[in-house]
Structures are given as C-alpha cells and as structure tokens.
C-alpha cells in the first residue's frame, strides 16, 4: 500500500496543497518542480487537491468537489494540471492579471512574448532561456499594479515531442534545462507521453516589465522587429487576458499597470535563433 503524502507549494503566490499516494506524488513531481516549497510559515491553502484510489479507479477532488475519475493515473495528473492553472489564475485576481504570454527576464527586466497559440511564444521563450535568461512563465504572465511580472513557472510543454528549432541534444547539453515526463491515455485510448522541459534558471521574484513583443512566426517572411504604438499593443493584449473581465476594463487595467516606459514591438520571424532583444531602459 502506497503511503499517503501531503505537500504544499507556492504557485504564483497561492498556497496549493496536494494529498496523494506516494506513487502519484512521484508522477506529479516534474509538474510541480519549479514552484517554491510552501510547507513552512504559511496559512491554510487556498487551493487543495486530493487524489485517492477507489477500487480500480483514481479520483481527483479539489476543495471538496469531485473533478475527475479515471483508471489511468496519467489522466488524473492531466486533470489536476488543468484545474491547477484555472484555479490559480482565478485566485490571483484582481491583484495580478494574467496575460497569455511567455515571460523571461535578465538583469534589465522582463520581456513578454504575447500572442495566440502558434505565434511562437514558447519557441522565443526557449531561445532566450538557452541564452541564460531567467524563466517566469511560458503561458501565464502575471502583471501586478506596480508594473512587475510575477513568476508562474509551469514546465514548458511543446505540442510535439521534438521541436524543429531545438534538438533534445541541444536542450540537454545546454545545461539550461532538465527534462521530465508523464504518461497518460489520450481520448482515443492510445498511450501518450507529455514531455516537460524544466528551466534551471527560474526567476524567484517579480521583475519590472520592460518590453512587450507581439510575435508572429512565418517561415516565408523576412525578419522584422518594429515599434508598436502603446494603444495598439494594449488593444491586442486586452484580447489575451485569461481572466473574465470585459474588454473595456481590460484596456484600462493594462494601461494603468503597464509601465509608461515599457516598449512595444511587433516581431515577425522565421528563424528563432536570429531574434535578439535589448530591453535595457
């Protein structure tokens, strides 16, 4: 019989508790590896998950509500991951607004790569992590009232097991990443492997936002990076907020929170390795 464990993490400042058998906790470990330990000196968890075994099925509950049951433990992990992100993004409102963007930082401050899926956020994020920038997030960029971006360092996950611009050898040989996995059964009943890339340099503190890049990957286009007027950038960012506020509120919130000296750039790229960023103030 597997031992039941209870662990705590600080995810974007929210205390998250998970109770699960040791075997499931081991499967969860790569997903949670980048979040600080939350077991000391913190109050009652705001988000709690419990994984239990009932007969031949696993069961996932959160804050007393049944979320998922499945014979496959990997599917329970996938359900927990999805629910964790949703609950954290909801819990941090209104202190932090979550933008669908990747965020990396150097000593000058933070750069966001904001855009819809397929725009190239994760590729750009990976390119700069390989250049020893610090990781904040590949999906949830949390903007505070003081113009800083708070870390939400979930593991990077590519849609494919291999990335055309970054070989596994390059990723692992760089010393910038550790690799993790979890297995699950997809909706067609086929076994799938989710590959997780864990950056080794993770920002531990909020960092001032210096630049927002609106990228577009286009294999047939010429490389270009041109300034964008603030209101145009805000218009686009407003549609990328991950919390349920209207466009009107989103625009004003972003305008008040985005630092006045933040620069906005539109990037078109076909080779991620050609992209350079100077975010010095």
């Amino acid at each position: 019989m597997s031992q039941i464990l209870n662990r705590h993490w600080l995810v974007a400042g929210e205390l998250v508790a998970i109770t699960a058998p040791e075997s499931m906790m081991q499967m969860l470990a790569p997903l949670l590896a980048l979040y600080p330990d939350g077991s000391t000196g913190t109050p009652t968890p705001s988000i709690a998950f419990s994984i239990t075994r009932q007969g031949d099925r696993w069961r996932l509950d959160s804050n007393g509500i049944a979320l998922w049951q499945d014979v496959d433990g990997g599917n329970i992990i996938a359900a927990l991951e999805l629910s964790l992100y949703r609950q954290v993004v909801a819990a941090i409102m209104p202190a932090l607004c979550s933008i669908h963007a990747a965020a990396v930082a150097n000593s000058d401050g933070t750069v966001l790569f904001a855009g819809i899926s397929g725009a190239g956020k994760s590729s750009l994020c990976t390119r700069f992590l390989l250049a020893k920038w610090h990781y904040l997030s590949d999906e949830f960029s949390l903007l505070a009232e003081d113009g800083t971006i708070h870390p939400f360092p979930r593991p990077l996950q590519w849609e494919c097991l291999t990335h055309p611009a970054f070989t596994h050898e390059k990723m692992l040989g760089s010393g910038c990443f550790t690799r993790g996995f979890y297995q699950f059964i997809d909706q067609q009943g086929a076994p799938r492997t989710s590959q997780l890339w864990l950056p080794n340099l993770v920002a531990q503190r909020p960092s001032r936002l210096r630049m927002v890049v609106l990228p577009r990957y286009d294999p047939n286009a010429q490389h270009s990076m041109v300034p964008v007027v603030r209101s145009v950038a805000i218009s686009e960012l407003a549609t990328l907020l991950q919390q349920p506020i209207g466009l009107s509120d989103a625009i004003q919130t972003l305008h008040h929170r985005l630092p006045r000296d933040c620069r906005f750039m539109r990037l078109t790229f076909r080779d991620v390795h050609q992209v350079t960023i100077d975010c010095a103030p």
Partner: protein, 91 residues
C-alpha cells in the same frame, strides 16, 4: 465619401481614452475587436452621428483648431475613408 454625406458610427462602439497618452481604443463589441485612434480621429468618430455631414465635421474642426480649412477638409475625408475601412462607420 462626399462632403454632403452623413457618416454614422456603428452602433455599440465604446471609446476608451488612455489617460496621459492622447490615444483612444475603440471597442467594437459586436465584432469583438479593438481599434486604436488618436484623439482627433476619435473626436471625428464621435461626430459621426448621422446628423453631421463630412463638411460640418471639417468646419467644426477648423473653427476649434484654427487650421487651414482646405487641409482640414482633405484630412477629414481621408480619415472618414480610414474609419470606413476599419468598419467603424455604417456603410
């Protein structure tokens, strides 16, 4: 657009002025999209109420700004064409 045309903004547009930077974001709730304008363009859009002709709009701007009327008329015509292109005016 002719100078005696009566341009009318699409119903339901919301104008959000961005304090301190003289820029306005127009929210088209129906189309779920945003368009960015400077303050002058936003003022022209607000005057597109179906009662002011393009000429009336140009006259009001000329009076308020003291700018050359011929230039203002040309600018307003160009701006109305752009607002039409961005689907902010009723066709």
């Amino acid at each position: 657009m002719r100078s005696d045309a009566l341009p009318q903004a699409k119903p339901g547009l919301e104008l959000e002025e961005l304090e301190g930077i003289d820029e306005v974001v127009v929210i088209d709730g129906e189309g779920q999209r945003c368009v960015s304008l400077n303050l002058t363009a936003a003022a022209v859009l607000e005057m597109c109420d179906g009662k002011h002709t393009a000429q009336n709009i140009a006259n009001e701007i000329t009076q308020a700004s003291g700018a050359d009327s011929v230039q203002v008329e040309a600018d307003v015509a160009a701006l109305l064409a752009e607002l039409t292109q961005y689907q902010l005016l009723e066709s």
